[in-house]
């Protein structure tokens, strides 16, 4: 493929540009395909440049295009640039990239396309519609869908290599020595005679020379950083309290705001602020979209005054009682509600016409995100621009939303992205930022920090969607022969895209996620999904659809193995169609010593789910004690291709297992009188230390492409735990949270 074709295809070109005091390396984004946008002399607005590396006489800054939600994006992305650029940790600062289309998330777009291409029963038009939806959401600098690693892996190393080679060219310009004879090391260009020129000394000259874009990335055998344990650059700040989060910001003259919006997402019928208005420190009580806000000189005073405001809320637009939500889901397995048939191998209907060996219904509840840092945003509105300090996963959409509130153009909205105290999908939403903008707009010229109380955060969390599955299957001669599974639930993609103002076209890909792509090939396998309208608005929750789908299919599979009298690992391996998935299942089985007798009152359960292109197998061991079920150990094997940092990935996989197990055991959101019944962590606590098992991790690297690991270890945790409890006690768990049915220690 020629260079021109490459450029046109991805409309992204690594290059360089002069900046004050030096040079920046990064990506040109071109609005229309060009043969060579840098050479052609582009008109204004036809191209934009975003730096990933800035070198000036004063120092080196590496830019992180993706939000850092705790996954270590800042560290990992800096490491990728430093690998090719020959920088050591400590030789550079990091900063978040401002919103710009050049930080195009390649992986998200490719992911959507590739996933759909693998779907034979779906029409090309349908695949495109679905892929297009994902691209709209994440295509532009989004952080989500476990795409940070794949998106960055090539292009940041490329940027590092371009920077390195261009700095050598600058050294050539300066010394007359051929660049080909130079090497680089620890932030310096080394000349053949041993002289060393620091990059910072070359910055000015590098801005003048033509950038060297013809670079070859180093083979993995030459990597110094990638694949080795690194001390994360944010670690020291995070253990000393120096790490600043959005909630900690306090620009000069700032006011503190608190807000209460309708727990039914409806209207404010009336409110009485007379008691609050005179309270100490209170500056103002104002009506905002769907609620009331207090401005004060201190967060607590704002919270307290808000508690003194009496508000009458209008009704919810969704069913008031939780039972009605389940009734609506249960009534949706109809032809009229069918979203799509995702898989139709063999003829499952015919195979099961004489009756099923297993027929069961499974349920996954609404669940809140609730990262530990409550939602917050600092906003300063002035005539020429709006500044926003917050942690957000969709910067470009955030600009548009804020501009819509204040009446500015999107380009006038400046986002200063912040380190997030967790997200799990929560910081894909906009309400807290647009409310902060609304309040700040009423106080132009004064920075306003809106801090959600935990209760406000719970009450207005757009939870993980609710879903139900009806599964049937047949066994013969000790094997699983037919699986027919229908999944119905709230369509999360449409719900989320609707709030952004993008129409969701085509069937909802998240409803059958983890199910339709189960890497098994029984003779008959049918998967259909049904979208249930009118339920509570929902959002992406760590691993999204697969967090429900994985539980459904892997519990059904376990029931079928049991009915067939087959070993759950051996039968899965027999049905396996994907060699990478086979590898992880074999590895987990070996780690756990699968096949051993765990002893009295103990049981092992297995599950394997593929999500975001990554198969993960988990085996859980439990003991049924007097005081309840105790989780003793979890063995996890995953394959997301090249591992950038073995310690960071282990931490993430352990965290995802804790997330998956904790919520499967303990957490749900239920509605009563149109409001979430759970108001704080006491009622939805996920996992705590005393319930946390030993978690052993093995990361295989057989997958051909690098992929993200933030989400894929979540879905297998719930079914592996449920299957283990069945093995230990004979009690089959078909509904999360499990504590509705069993007691945990």
């Amino acid at each position: 493929m020629t260079r021109a074709a490459t450029i046109t295809r991805r409309t992204l070109l690594i290059g360089a540009t002069a900046i004050a005091g030096g040079v920046a390396f990064g990506a040109w984004a071109v609005r229309h395909p060009h043969d060579n946008p840098l050479a052609e002399g582009l008109g204004a607005g036809e191209a934009s440049f975003n730096p990933w590396v800035k070198v000036t006489g004063a120092g080196i800054t590496l830019i992180t295009p993706h939000a850092d939600l705790g996954q270590g994006a800042v560290h990992m992305q800096a490491a990728l640039i430093a690998e090719e650029m020959d920088l050591e940790f400590g030789q550079f600062d990091t900063a978040f990239g401002p919103p710009d289309p050049a930080y195009y998330n390649r992986a998200m777009a490719a992911e959507a396309g590739a996933a759909m291409a693998a779907l034979t029963p779906i029409s090309a038009a349908m695949a495109e519609a679905v892929a297009g939806g994902a691209m709209k959401l994440f295509g532009v600098q989004g952080t989500g869908g476990s795409t940070s690693a794949p998106d960055s892996f090539d292009k940041l190393r490329e940027a590092g290599a371009v920077a390195r080679e261009t700095l050598k060219r600058a050294a050539e310009e300066l010394t007359g020595v051929s660049a080909a004879e130079m090497t680089t090391e620890a932030g310096r260009v080394i000349l053949p005679d041993g002289r060393a020129l620091p990059y910072t000394d070359l910055a000015a000259v590098a801005a003048e020379v033509a950038p060297v874009r013809d670079v070859v990335l180093r083979p993995s055998s030459e990597w110094r950083l990638i694949g080795r344990p690194m001390a994360r650059i944010d670690m020291a700040d995070k253990v000393t309290g120096r790490q600043v989060y959005g909630i900690d910001l306090a620009p000069e003259g700032m006011l503190h705001a608190a807000v209460r919006t309708s727990p039914r997402r409806g209207e404010v019928l009336s409110y009485d602020a007379s008691a609050a208005a005179g309270m100490r420190g209170v500056q103002d009580v104002i009506a905002v979209t769907g609620g009331v806000a207090v401005l004060a000189d201190n967060t607590w005073r704002a919270f307290r005054a808000l508690d003194a405001v009496e508000i009458a809320w209008g009704p919810a637009a969704y069913p008031a009682e939780q039972a009605e939500h389940w009734e609506a889901v249960g009534a949706s397995f109809t032809d009229a509600r069918m979203d799509a048939e995702w898989r139709a191998d063999g003829d499952a209907a015919a195979a099961l016409s004489a009756g099923a060996d297993v027929a069961a219904e499974y349920r996954a509840p609404y669940v809140a995100h609730q990262p530990l840092e409550p939602l917050n945003a600092v906003v300063l509105v002035t005539e020429p621009r709006v500044e926003v300090w917050t942690a957000h996963q969709l910067p470009r959409f955030l600009q548009q939303r804020v501009a819509g509130v204040t009446g500015h153009d999107a380009e006038q909205v400046v986002l200063h992205n912040q380190f997030a105290g967790g997200s799990f999908g929560h910081r894909l939403e906009f309400e807290h930022v647009t409310l902060a903008a609304e309040i700040a707009n009423a106080r132009r010229g004064t920075p306003v920090k809106l801090t959600y109380s935990r209760e406000q955060d719970f009450a207005t969390d757009f939870p993980r969607h609710i879903a139900m599955a009806r599964g049937r299957g047949a066994v013969a001669d000790g094997h699983v022969t037919a699986i027919d599974i229908d999944v119905a639930g709230a369509p999360v993609t449409a719900s989320q895209m609707g709030r952004i103002g993008l129409g969701g076209a085509g069937p909802d890909t998240q409803l059958p996620a983890g199910v339709w792509n189960a890497p098994y090939g029984p003779e008959h396998f049918r998967v259909r999904s049904y979208a249930v309208p009118g339920l509570a608005p929902v959002s992406s929750w760590r691993s999204v659809g697969a967090s429900c789908g994985g539980f459904f299919i892997e519990t059904l599979m376990d029931e079928l193995c049991h009915a067939a009298g087959a070993d759950p690992v051996e039968e899965r391996l027999r049905l396996m169609t994907d060699p990478v998935a086979r590898g992880v299942l074999e590895a987990a089985a070996e780690m756990a010593g699968w096949g051993r007798d765990p002893g009295e009152d103990r049981g092992l359960g297995v599950a394997l789910v593929e999500s975001f292109g990554v198969p993960v197998a988990e085996i859980v061991e439990v003991t049924a004690t007097e005081g309840g079920i105790r989780i003793d150990a979890v063995w996890v094997a995953s394959d997301s291709g090249t591992v950038i940092d073995p310690v960071n990935i282990e931490n993430h996989i352990q965290g995802a297992v804790v997330w998956g197990l904790g919520h499967a055991m303990n957490s749900e959101i239920t509605y009563r009188d149109g409001m979430a019944e759970q108001s704080n962590y006491h009622a939805a606590e996920g996992m705590r230390m005393h319930q946390c098992p030993r978690i052993s991790v093995r990361t295989l690297e057989a997958a051909p492409r690098i992929r993200g690991i933030g989400e894929p270890p979540v879905p297998p945790a719930a079914p592996a735990l449920g299957n283990a409890i069945f093995a230990a006690t004979g009690q089959r768990l078909r509904e999360m949270p499990f504590r509705r049915h069993v007691r945990f220690v």
Partner: protein
């Protein structure tokens, strides 16, 4: 009222029932102490009050009058790291990091009262500190490592 935070004395005029958490964060700008729940359910606001690990969201300003408050900023003293912080770095514990100041202060207090804690003891003392990122396995390992380091002096 008077309050000593990390060795520095402050003179303040706040409501007696303002929680220490907000006195520290909003009145004194000591932001290492975090707000997570406000109802003693998460431990993000943990500080040492006269040497005891306490939830700052539950301590009214009046009750802290005259007490010595230690926050993450003061642990270890100056630029030095406490053994628990060093262990946290060695084990690469933090993900988002938001809970970790509370975890570290709770763990430091645990090790003062029990120099060689068992897993059960760790579970008991640390279960009030939520980590939504799920770093518990590494926290446990780091506490054992810090305990060993402290014992060896």
């Amino acid at each position: 009222m008077r309050l000593t935070v990390n060795g520095t004395e402050h003179e303040l005029d706040v409501e007696p029932d303002m929680p220490l958490l907000w006195v520290l964060r909003d009145e004194l700008g000591v932001t290492g102490v975090k707000y997570g729940c406000g109802i003693a359910q998460c431990g993000a606001c943990t500080v040492h009050l006269d040497g005891m690990a306490m939830r700052a969201c539950q301590v009214p300003a009046a009750a802290a009058e005259g007490a010595e408050v230690l926050t993450i900023e003061g642990l270890g003293g100056g630029d030095a790291l406490h053994a628990v912080q060093r262990a946290w770095i060695d084990e690469q514990v933090a993900q988002c990091g938001y809970c970790q100041a509370g975890q570290i202060l709770q763990a430091a207090w645990l090790l003062e009262t029990s120099p060689a804690p068992s897993d059960e003891e760790i579970d008991r003392v640390m279960s009030g500190n939520l980590c939504r990122c799920g770093t518990y396995p590494r926290i446990r390992a780091a506490i054992h490592a810090a305990a060993a380091a402290l014992r060896e002096g």
